[in-house]
């Protein structure tokens, strides 16, 4: 069986926060304790939608030491493939669901003298758990959080009331911007910076930090890509000797799983590298969207990350 260990849970609370974001609370279906986790970890939520099973990763935002419950916040994406809309419209208190054990691909570097968090929109969620973890050990942290508008600022009130000195909020509609160059220049030695948000924000922070002379190891980022819809295509799976069709609204990985082939995965967002698959033959163009393979590998035509990447063309044969 692929992926992390599974946990059967019950949905115990559903709280709409604003027009786009809803919080879900899970408790173990057997009333036992959930595993502790480290701030920055995510869980993969299984959504059974008729014949379709969606597996989407969401950052755990509750206190890592609280083993009684897990919380996630889901931003509705009407343009996406339906996972977030399913969570918003179909999941109710009392529902039984299956989630994965926590997996952390965005861990704190505990050597840091100070943790500087930069959040954009729903990218706030891993920092909610990380700040709770650091508070318990008197960690030194500071948060800069950019939201589109005041009404879409999830958890702004909670953060500014509990941590008025550490929290800085920026609203796009008020033309407020993080003064990144000055912020980075003003940090004490030994600071680590963490960014979670839209791709443009991550690229901006990484590039600015590089220009400011920050060591690569001190800059951490997490961006889960949701698989994007695309034109249907056909794939031959050489090991399992199957020909499968990848639909417009499903990922290559989901199509492989639908055909009953067990393929490895963890994050399902192009970041962890677990689902890396060798290409045996192809005639056409890859649409690589992952963060795992480097530019040469993307150009090489020998590997694909089926969780987020697609293909357009006549023939694709995979070693799976």
């Amino acid at each position: 069986m692929s992926g992390a260990e599974k946990i059967a849970v019950t949905v115990t609370d559903v709280v709409p926060l604003n027009d786009l974001v809803t919080r879900f609370e899970f408790k173990r279906a057997d009333n036992g304790l959930l595993p502790t986790f480290s701030g920055g970890a995510h869980t993969v939520v299984e959504m059974r939608d008729g014949d379709i099973t969606r597996l989407n990763p969401y950052s755990l935002m509750s206190d890592p030491m609280d083993q009684s419950r897990y919380c996630i916040s889901v931003r509705r994406d009407d343009e996406g493939r339906g996972g977030s809309v399913f969570m918003h419209t179909r999941v109710k208190v009392g529902d039984e669901m299956v989630i994965s054990y926590p997996v952390n691909l965005f861990s704190l570097d505990l050597r840091a003298k100070k943790h500087l968090f930069l959040a954009g929109g729903i990218g706030i969620t891993p920092f909610l758990a990380q700040t709770k973890q650091l508070e318990r050990f008197n960690g030194n942290w500071e948060l800069h959080y950019a939201c589109r508008t005041e009404s879409l600022g999830s958890y702004v009130d909670e953060l500014t009331s509990h941590h008025p000195n550490e929290t800085h909020i920026y609203y796009d509609d008020k033309k407020q911007m993080i003064d990144l160059v000055n912020l980075l220049e003003g940090q004490p030695l030994g600071t680590h910076v963490y960014v979670c948000g839209p791709k443009g924000m991550i690229d901006w922070v990484r590039k600015t930090a590089t220009n400011e002379g920050w060591p690569r190891e001190a800059v951490h980022y997490e961006e889960f890509l949701a698989p994007q819809p695309g034109k249907p295509f056909e794939v031959k799976l050489a090991v399992s000797n199957k020909v499968i069709q990848v639909g417009e609204h499903e990922s290559l990985l989901e199509a492989i799983e639908r055909a009953g082939v067990d393929a490895p995965y963890l994050c399902r967002g192009g970041a962890c590298g677990q689902c890396e698959t060798n290409v045996i033959d192809y005639a056409g163009n890859f649409i690589h969207r992952d963060h795992w393979l480097d530019d040469d590998e993307h150009a090489g035509g020998q590997k694909i990350m089926p969780c987020v990447s697609r293909f357009e063309g006549k023939t694709l044969v995979l070693d799976r």
Binding site: P35, T36, S38, N104
Partner: protein, 355 residues
């Protein structure tokens, strides 16, 4: 108590011994009649009843004496236990993992009572009954990692995970096969494996690291490793090479069966939840050649493995000079019959030695 603990030594008079039960459950490391490195990992989720795989942390008849030996090593050399400042949380993770596992797996030997952060730990074999506050170092006599690994067999490497690598940033290492925590502390996975021959060329470490970085909570893994040790020494450290290295020259055809030991490490790997670190327990099991020869399958196989091992590996494992004498002894237990697959003794099904 269900386990009768031996009163024995791993130094000076070497009164260490394996009972018949301990021999039968010895983790013989060769699943076939030859050996080469591989990433021989499997899930660590129990195993055959009474095997060393059955529990998360195996406790056996050597427990009390091994802990006494560890205390002596630490009294002579406190640097065998080190933890860099950022690894304290991982130490608490490890303490919790071992206390929870042992109290659940051996309820007659260990008890853990938790009331929020107020914990009480009872270790009956060692006569310990301590109450402390979880995550408050001031309430324990040692740091959390040192406290619990003074009560757990095997060495413990606690590895920080960052920058797509693992870092040897904490550990308790007193029963090691000739490597030094004090030398390796702070090194990454490739740095501390640099001395191993052949495996780098085979790409073993790149694949092994990729596997280890992806070990997840709730899904521990394990493998066996092995070497040879003359006399039942737990502490074969570089720091003490001047004491034990010379003992390799004391082997004779008369004493080799009793003095030469196969040393097997049961290596396990657990993701630690609060710190996202990885703990790598390395549990050492020793068995004399003469005890191993009581299992016909192991006698046949050990001869073939030692005979056919590449010189580089026999050199790295430190027995190239003694190999001819070993083979003179072992060949008496190899009648050329085929052996069954797998590591288990198969005493009921494998034929006795033909003489």
């Amino acid at each position: 108590m269900t386990i009768q603990f031996n009163d024995e030594t791993f130094r000076d008079d070497y009164s260490f011994y394996n009972s018949e039960r301990a021999i039968k459950r010895f983790p013989f490391p060769f699943h076939e009649d030859s050996y080469m490195y591989s990433v021989n990992m499997e899930q660590h989720r129990g195993g055959p009843k009474d095997s060393v795989y059955e529990k998360r942390f195996d406790v056996d008849e050597h427990y009390v004496s091994e802990m006494r030996d560890r205390a002596m090593v630490l009294a002579d050399d406190p640097l065998r236990c080190q933890s860099l400042p950022h690894m304290t949380l991982a130490g608490w993770d490890l303490l919790e993992l071992i206390m929870v596992s042992k109290s659940e797996d051996y309820p007659d030997l260990f008890e853990l009572h938790r009331d929020g952060n107020k914990w009480r730990w009872i270790n009956k074999p060692l006569g310990i009954d301590d109450s402390f506050v979880f995550l408050d170092e001031a309430t324990l006599p040692y740091g959390p990692m040192e406290y619990i690994t003074r009560q757990a067999q095997g060495d413990f490497c606690v590895l920080d995970q960052r920058d797509d690598n693992l870092w040897m940033d904490a550990g308790m290492v007193t029963t090691q096969a000739d490597w030094s925590l004090d030398f390796d502390i702070g090194m990454n996975f490739f740095e501390w494996h640099a001395p191993v021959p052949l495996a780098h060329e085979k790409g073993i470490f790149v694949r092994a690291l990729k596997f280890l970085l992806n070990i997840q909570q709730g899904a521990p893994a394990r493998r066996l490793n092995w070497t040879m040790t003359v006399n039942p020494l737990l502490d074969t450290s570089p720091e003490n090479y001047h004491k034990w290295g010379i003992q390799k020259t004391t082997l004779t055809p008369e004493n080799i069966g009793a003095k030469q030991h196969l040393r097997v490490e049961l290596q396990t790997f657990f993701r630690l939840p609060r710190s996202n670190a990885l703990v790598f327990p390395i549990r050492c099991y020793l068995c004399s050649f003469q005890d191993l020869m009581t299992v016909p399958k192991w006698g046949r196989r050990l001869h073939r493995v030692v005979r056919d091992l590449p010189d580089e590996l026999a050199t790295y494992k430190g027995f190239i000079d003694n190999r001819p004498m070993m083979l003179d002894y072992l060949k008496n237990f190899d009648d050329g019959l085929p052996t069954s697959a797998g590591i288990w003794p198969d005493l009921e099904t494998e034929p006795a030695l033909e003489t």
